[in-house]
């Protein structure tokens, strides 16, 4: 295979790129008329570019793309909403973290401790014996329960068919 003439190969490529002016075109054409190697190269370059080029988009495809501005705007709006939501979540997390740092956790005091403890002193164990004596007689509730009317009378219980085998 013969190589193209070194001085004309750049012109062949420039023509393929659409860069040749009319003077260059005329000069190249004159050369190609008498140089089979450069003619073959010119044909190969033209063929390579024609094979590489994509077929034009159909009218329907062009129209569909052309009408995509509104759809793109919707996507932009959705994207903006997502970013705002993410920013709010981030802000809430940051606020929670700041609150947790600013207000350190303290264990809750047991019931009654606050009232029993004089102001300005720490929490002390309450007097459990005194608390027990101060409460009502614990057996009183049981006695009252025993005397209460039962929810279901014994006679009623006998009428119920339990149907247990």
């Amino acid at each position: 295979m013969n190589r193209p003439c070194p001085s004309f190969e750049p012109l062949l490529l420039d023509r393929a790129a659409g860069l040749l002016d009319p003077v260059g075109e005329a000069r190249l054409d004159r050369h190609l008329a008498g140089c089979p190697s450069c003619r073959a190269e010119a044909d190969a370059v033209g063929l390579a570019l024609s094979l590489a080029a994509l077929p034009p988009a159909s009218a329907a495809e062009r129209a569909a793309v052309g009408q995509g501005a509104r759809e793109a705007l919707l996507r932009l709006r959705a994207d903006r909403s997502r970013r705002r939501f993410a920013a709010r979540v981030l802000l809430a997390v940051a606020a929670s973290a700041a609150f947790a740092v600013a207000v350190p956790w303290r264990p809750a005091a047991p019931p009654g401790a606050v009232a029993a403890a004089p102001a300005g002193t720490g929490w002390e164990l309450p007097d459990l014996d005194a608390a027990w004596a101060a409460s009502a007689d614990p057996t009183a509730d049981l006695a009252a329960l025993a005397e209460a009317e039962p929810l279901v009378l014994f006679a009623e219980l006998q009428e119920i068919d339990f149907d247990i085998e």
């Binding site: 490529l13 860069l19 590489a52 501005a69 996507r75």
Partner: protein
């Protein structure tokens, strides 16, 4: 439209000079300030070029449509985050096209398009009849060359697709990629040489 509109009553806006006189940077700035028609104008100006560019990397027309939208979304979002929407001189188009090219390449990497496109599809015409040998050979060569385009070194691929697919002049190709115009031409020449070698080698088996 900051500085270019006058209030003519509630809900009515008068734009002096119309959209055509607004540079991209001004439209982007206005959109970021909440003016959605500015985005529609940016879309009208550039969607066809972006679509032509991302089609190279898309498996289906729906993919290409989605990539076009995503390129705009990314470009606007990145401009907002970078705080670069404020300047009227902001070069939105090169920014957008560079994002589209990167997005396309990433999409391709994720999709493994050429592995998903079974060769059998090439052997059947739309009606299910086998393709003629010559047409089948042409299709196979197209597939190989287009695959080779995607496997070109990054700069060569970017220059070639911006020139061939998007149809940009070399000056704009260079601006988009942030390189010298002469450098862009050199990358284009290298890319075409590679593809030509491939075609020449594959042509030896031509029926």
């Amino acid at each position: 439209m900051a500085g270019r509109e006058s209030s003519a009553g509630p809900g009515l806006r008068v734009v002096q000079g119309g959209w055509a006189s607004q540079p991209d940077g001004a439209l982007l700035r206005d959109f970021l300030a909440g003016d959605e028609p500015s985005f529609e104008e940016l879309w009208r100006r550039h969607h066809a070029t972006v679509h032509a560019l991302v089609r190279r990397y898309a498996r289906t027309p729906e993919d290409a449509r989605d990539l076009t939208q995503r390129a705009f979304l990314r470009a606007v979002g990145a401009a907002r985050r970078a705080g670069r929407g404020a300047g009227v001189d902001f070069p939105f188009r090169p920014w957008l096209l560079r994002i589209a090219a990167n997005l396309g390449k990433n999409h391709l990497r994720d999709e493994f398009r050429w592995r998903r496109a079974p060769v059998q599809e090439l052997e059947q015409a739309a009606d299910g009849a086998p393709l003629a040998d010559e047409l089948l050979f042409r299709r196979e060569r197209e597939r190989r060359v287009r695959q080779a385009v995607l496997l070109l070194p990054r700069r060569q691929r970017e220059v070639l697709t911006l020139r061939v697919d998007a149809g940009l002049p070399f000056a704009e190709v260079a601006t988009t990629l942030g390189i010298e115009e002469g450098n862009a031409r050199v990358h284009f020449h290298h890319a075409v040489r590679r593809l030509t070698e491939l075609v020449r080698a594959a042509g030896e088996g031509e029926p």
